[in-house]
Symmetry: C2
Subunit: 240 residues, 2 copies
DNA sequence: ATTATACGCTGTTAATTATCATAACGCGCT
DNA sequence: AGCGCGTTATGATAATTAACAGCGTATAAT
């Protein structure tokens, strides 16, 4: 898989990606004119990451502006004790490189693919130069960053208000309603990662999932989850 | 006090504020030229809030771009159950209006003065227009928003990692080291507000402060706190 | 002076969560 | 197949935190 992405990298990513047709073009580049756009398009590199591969590493210098075309990633940070905390999950429209690209020299968080993920990579200096010359583009970026950040903060606050069961319910509904839009889905993360996300222990995540199963709220087949009593789960999320 | 701020409001805030000398000018407006600046200066209104006064209210439409000149505020959000959560505290250089000014029509959080606070208020549309025409200004704003957000996220993550005692120690050190730069200070918030900030109950905040007092780590006189054993407090914050 | 009210403080009990221990299971590897 | 390893699973116990109840104090309003 590493080979695959390297191959695409060497091809300059031209194989699968046409900027003109890109869904995301309107999000980031609606105020960028055709000649500028072709300039951006020439330097962009499309890159694929398999589930589990690290996209950016905490502490590394930020050289690139990255946006997601496809897939699912986690943002995480390693504490001084070596334990990870997951800050959020992002799918394409939510993710604007890293939040700190315009204020920090190094990545404050790591980004890891939790499903096969395709990103487009632009040289950060080029993007910055464009932003400095095109205020509407800069404003678009600002709005995107703002939205992404707000979403993370609101989600964190919502989780903080809840107890163990409510937090687990919240996560299940997050994947069911927001990510997969289906009552049945395959969890893209381990129980430990759920724990890192909601700030509880792995054992309690496992235990609580088992309880939900015993209470016939969900069915579990390894990582496959089926939500059989959504109302109850919603209720636990809202009031637990 | 309400009268005082009204008076200043009616004076168009010209009484005490000269934009040319303003410390914050370089932060937000370093890339705004003299004529633009005088334009901005003409429409700005300086406003004072006494401790406890609400500056912006969650849910209200965002019409203004606000930045702090002086003071201390809290950002908070009310949950569906009516309970408040405090997201962060901000002093002048940290605070860039509300994070969502460029992505949302309404305030997602409330801002309340927890010390007497002076802010400068600009019409949001005017600021947006300036940003749309001056990309460097837009970039400056973006960097500010990014920094402010990162600080909030990192602080929240640090708190999340800790237990009750570590969280209390964290808060005490936050005010001592970051806000007041003094081992002795007056807490600008109540025990309940500390609880709302760290996500624990008021009783436990009070109890823990008492324990710290019994352990001779701090001295307490109502809201006055004196940190007598900073090393131990730091240790509790780092490992508790 | 009296009432109301918010706040700070403490003790007790109940609930929640972490920690430790153990075991089954799946999966890649040889 | 058998081994090693990480994940999932469950139980017992300890630690932590919440919830409830009570009480004193300061402050402001009547």
């Amino acid at each position: 898989m590493q080979n695959l992405s390297k191959t695409i990298n060497n091809n300059m990513g031209k194989t699968n990606c046409s900027c003109e047709k890109c869904q995301l073009k309107s999000l980031f580049f609606s105020h960028v004119d055709a000649s500028e756009m072709s300039n951006i398009c020439d330097i962009k590199v499309e890159k694929q990451y398999s589930k589990g591969e690290i996209i950016t590493t905490e502490g590394e210098p930020i050289r690139e502006f990255i946006y997601m075309k496809e897939g699912l990633v986690k943002l995480s940070k390693t504490g001084t004790d070596g334990k990870d905390q997951i800050i959020s999950f992002s799918k394409p429209f939510d993710f604007v490189s890293l939040l700190s690209v315009f204020s920090s020299k190094t990545y404050k968080y790591s980004v890891t693919a939790i499903e096969d993920t395709t990103v487009c990579i632009l040289d950060l200096d080029v993007v910055k130069n464009h932003a400095q010359e095109n205020a509407l583009f800069a404003m678009d970026l600002m709005a995107r960053i703002s939205e992404a950040t707000d979403k993370i903060l609101l989600d964190n606050l919502a989780i903080k208000r809840k107890h163990l069961k409510g937090r687990i319910a919240h996560v299940l509904l997050y994947f069911s309603d927001y990510i997969y839009k289906n009552d049945e889905f395959e969890l893209p993360i381990s129980r430990r990662e759920i724990a890192e996300y909601i700030g509880m222990t792995t054992e309690n995540v496992i235990r609580t999932l088992s309880e939900f199963r015993k209470d016939k709220i969900i069915k579990i087949f390894g990582k496959d989850i089926l939500i059989s009593d959504k109302k109850r789960l919603q209720n636990i999320s809202d009031f637990g």
